[in-house]
């Protein structure tokens, strides 16, 4: 590794603009003639639209136009879709209800968009939106999965009888049933996974600009995957053909999944720009974000885990109901199925697994991928079950895990996944050593003397990243391939531009990706630029989510670098009159190994473009592209140990220690990887301790619609974390990378809840473990 190459803790190239206030987010964009939009949104969770009177709004100051769903439909704009087809176990396709970007006859959740107002200023647009008179006929609303499946529940979409979207299964039911019937011990639990709001700090925004002369659209949007946005808006929503639509995702202030999806607002802003002949910008306020960003999690499960007389796991059976909200968001169907139930084997050898998943419509915001997406739900279930089983069996939680670990690879689980590499004992050992696990009982006694309840909990997570082999996901219903593209352009002066289909919204790609180039050619990081987030610059890409930019995005760059290196070596061999096989590229020079003959990198690049002296038949230039399609998922895994002290008088939990030992395979920039883990853990702790999205079950009003009501983790809620890594190299990609973006959010909630339940001696506790809930659990245990 050089000082800037693979493995270096290189400070981020992109930071200068962010720390000086020079970042360029969508809300910072100004286009000549730009006007502002506000959406009229339903205040009812479920209602029929009887009448919309826009006249009072049109008379308001500064108003340019008020546009409705029926006009949008008349102009041929299509409904939003879910891009992953899941079939029920009876073979029938999922029951997808229609989702119009602007509701025309029925609203199905509080925040459902009904009209767009375009005005001179944002304030005028908001004022006028309030003046639009919508007459509703309220209907009964339902917000929870159990209520939605009741016979008496209101019907939300005509396409989905009984509000059931699909009834899906995976694994072998009779094998799992037999294991449970023959078990020496069965642990049974009902486990809920609380609904969360992703809350990227930058609210969603869209700026649509229709150029009449060129019949061309430009959309600046807060997206994690601008190319997918263009593809979907073009192919399904009929906004414009791809060559007439440019999508730009500039600096994006966090995503965590919520900015993967194509929402109504960007479609409507583009359409409204054509209708009004002015560029139209919309920026969500925070309450709008709470109401309309796709939420995460919201599962209700019952599970049984069976053990033989030697405490070996012999079967696992799970029944889950997942809430998908009022409409099926872009990847919503895949989250509680292929991203969830395929991870139910955890780090363990479990010969028989069966999981049944029903997804339902409710009168709540759409639910889709949020950091971890399905894998946190699986990990929470498995790790709460294992910890509980250890208590019931009177065994150390570490030992019960250890005797059940998968320890030979590859390992084929009964639920699709084939784990390719790992060392689960290594991460467990590392975390136990770092947390001084063996000395815990002494610390518990010391805490008890102070009147505090001290507890310790662990979680051994595994997840699947590197999403994903295109043919495999295609066979499972995905509407897209999940490869990635890259282009490496060496300029005539030797500087390098890397074009990537990955998108950075905090992950530091401009640095990490540049490190690959530094490592390969020995050029300074300063001479490497990463280009992303603009469909006019990068031809195609699948974007950033599912911890895929390292394992998939960087693998594409490696492939393109291989091609550039190969051509560069041919040119160097020709110039130096040497054999191509003897050329090495290092420290910014192309050398003939073992001699003092060399040509500087910049001169080689120039030669490629002057083309005065190239090998016979070689095309000028030094630029290569590549597509990389992974051959398998990658499997980051690790062990998290959390230690807490609880005040029994108030139920307040203090996290006194949090240890993470992760195996991410090869690491390019350890500083950035640690940052990803810190952030993930904070979101996991948020889920376990603080965050819970609450709807009023009676009327479907979102109770937690601001930072006054939704408990975001603050600095004083969290400790400093002790993070470290162990390493088994991922065999399926050229860099040996597994991915690190979601691990923290996946592994941490069960560690924390296991610690709290250990401290209070009552296992009946759901997330978020608020002081009130913990206090009640302590007192229920007495």
């Amino acid at each position: 590794m050089g000082v800037e190459g693979i493995g270096a803790r290189l400070a981020r190239k992109e930071d200068k603009r962010f720390i000086t206030g020079s970042g360029r987010y969508v809300d910072d964009m100004v286009v000549p003639g730009m006007k502002h939009a506000a959406f009229v949104r339903s205040q009812h969770a479920h209602a029929a639209i009887r009448k919309i009177n826009i006249k009072p709004a049109l008379a308001m100051p500064g108003v340019i136009d008020v546009l409705l769903g029926k006009q949008l439909k008349a102009d041929g704009i299509g409904n939003l879709i879910c891009g992953w087809m899941v079939h029920s176990k009876d073979g029938s396709p999922m029951n997808m209800g229609a989702w119009s970007p602007l509701a025309t006859d029925t609203v199905r959740y509080v925040g459902d968009a009904v009209a767009i107002v375009v005005a001179e200023t944002a304030s005028q647009a908001r004022d006028a939106a309030e003046a639009v008179e919508v007459t509703y006929k309220e209907k009964k609303a339902v917000t929870t999965v159990t209520d939605a499946l009741k016979k008496s529940a209101p019907q939300i979409h005509p396409e989905a009888p009984g509000n059931l979207i699909y009834d899906w299964e995976i694994g072998d039911q009779s094998a799992a049933d037999a294991a449970i019937a023959n078990a020496a011990h069965v642990t049974t639990m009902q486990i809920d996974n609380n609904r969360l709001v992703p809350n990227a700090m930058e609210p969603r925004a869209a700026l649509g600009h229709y150029d009449k002369a060129e019949d061309h659209y430009t959309c600046w949007t807060t997206s994690q995957n601008p190319h997918v946005a263009r593809l979907v808006m073009s192919a399904f929503y009929n906004v414009a053909p791809e060559n007439k639509l440019r999508v730009i995702a500039p600096d994006v202030g966090g995503g965590f999944g919520s900015k993967i999806f194509i929402y109504p607002e960007e479609i409507v802003c583009l359409w409204a720009s054509k209708r009004t002949n002015v560029p139209v910008k919309w920026v969500a306020d925070r309450t709008e974000s709470f109401l309309t960003d796709a939420h995460g999690r919201d599962h209700v499960s019952t599970a049984q885990m069976a053990f033989d007389k030697d405490n070996k796991m012999i079967g696992f059976k799970v029944d889950t109901i997942a809430n998908l909200g009022a409409y099926m968001s872009l990847f919503s169907s895949s989250v509680p199925t292929y991203l969830y139930a395929t991870l139910l084997s955890g780090q363990y050898k479990i010969p028989a697994i069966h999981c049944n998943v029903r997804t339902v419509y409710t009168n709540t915001a759409p639910v889709d991928a949020y950091r971890g997406a399905g894998r946190p739900e699986a990990c929470y279930l498995v790790e709460r079950m294992v910890e509980t089983a250890a208590r019931e069996l009177g065994m150390s939680p570490a030992e019960l895990r250890r005797i059940n670990f998968v320890n030979e690879f590859p390992y084929q689980t009964p639920v699709i996944m084939a784990y390719d590499a790992g060392d689960f004992n290594a991460s467990l050992d590392a975390a136990m050593a770092e947390s001084k696990y063996d000395g815990f009982e002494r610390r518990r006694k010391t805490a008890a003397k102070k009147g505090k309840l001290r507890g310790i909990g662990m979680s051994c997570y595994i997840e699947a990243c590197g999403i994903a082999p295109s043919a495999a996901v295609g066979s499972l219903g995905a509407g897209v391939g999940l490869w990635e593209s890259a282009e490496v352009r060496v300029n005539a002066v030797g500087t390098v531009e890397v074009l990537t289909g990955s998108h950075s919204h905090g992950q530091g790609h401009e640095t990490t990706f540049a490190q690959l180039v530094c490592d390969r050619f020995g050029v300074p990081a300063d001479s490497v630029s990463i280009v992303h987030g603009d469909t006019d610059k990068v031809q195609m890409g699948m974007g950033t989510y599912g911890s895929r930019s390292g394992a998939v995005g960087m693998s594409a760059i490696v492939k393109a670098l291989d091609k550039v290196e190969s051509k560069a070596k041919k040119i160097a061999a020709h110039l130096l009159e040497a054999d191509e096989g003897d050329i090495v590229i290092e420290n910014g020079e192309c050398k003939v190994a073992g001699t003092d003959k060399s040509v500087p990198w910049f001169q080689l690049a120039l030669s490629a473009y002057t083309a005065h002296n190239l090998p016979e038949g070689m095309e000028p230039g030094l630029k290569e592209g590549a597509f990389y399609d992974p051959t398998n998922f990658t499997f980051p895994a690790g062990c998290y140990i959390c230690e807490v002290e609880i005040d029994p008088e108030t139920g307040t939990t203090e996290i006194v220690q949090f240890v993470a030992a992760d195996d991410f395979g090869k690491i390019i920039n350890p500083m950035i990887v640690e940052g990803q883990v810190h952030g993930g853990i904070a979101q996991g702790i948020g889920q376990a301790l603080l965050e819970g999205c609450a709807y009023d079950p009676g009327n479907g009003q979102l109770i937690t619609a601001s930072y006054m009501d939704y408990a975001m983790p603050r600095a004083h809620d969290l400790p400093s974390f002790k993070v470290s890594t162990t390493e088994t190299v991922c065999p399926s990609n050229p860099l040996g990378i597994k991915g690190c973006g979601e691990a923290g959010a996946i592994g941490s909630p069960p560690a924390l809840i296991n610690a709290i339940t250990d401290a209070i001696g009552n296992n009946d506790l759901s997330m978020p473990a608020s002081p009130q809930r913990v206090w009640a659990a302590i007192n229920a245990a007495d």
Binding site: A11, D28, N199, A200, F256, H505
Partner: protein, 164 residues
Amino acid sequence: MANVELTVNGRNVSGNVEDRTLLVHFLRNELGLTGTHVGCDTSQCGACVVHVDGKAVKSCTMLAAQASGSTVMTIEGLAPEGGLHPVQEAFRENHGLQCGFCTPGMIMSAVDLIERHGGALDEQTVRAELEGNICRCTGYHNIVKSILAASKKMSKTKGRRKAA
């Protein structure tokens, strides 16, 4: 309409704005200083923190008209010409930012926090006083580290200046 005159980042500026215009919108929309961000509607997130007459203020809690006559410093005015403020430097060195959206407000709060406490900062104080700034990316770990590092560096520089 309200006429406002103030000094922003050392420059005298004026404008005629709607009475309801918030300071943050005046800075962003009238002056083009888009480094100050809006992350919420309830003065919770702190992405909009600027300094008004030397004190950290959430610029979404103040009307532009209220700020008339004041001296305002935004993130764009923090760094000395051609360089970086020690807090900016520390955020970069310690990876105290990821997506960068909360960063300007976080840095402006941190500068205020360090200046108020001098060199006497510890982790607990930093965490307690960052209550008004929300970050969703970093888990605060490296933000706290950055602020403590900057505080140490600034108190040393101050000490050296005093000794000189």
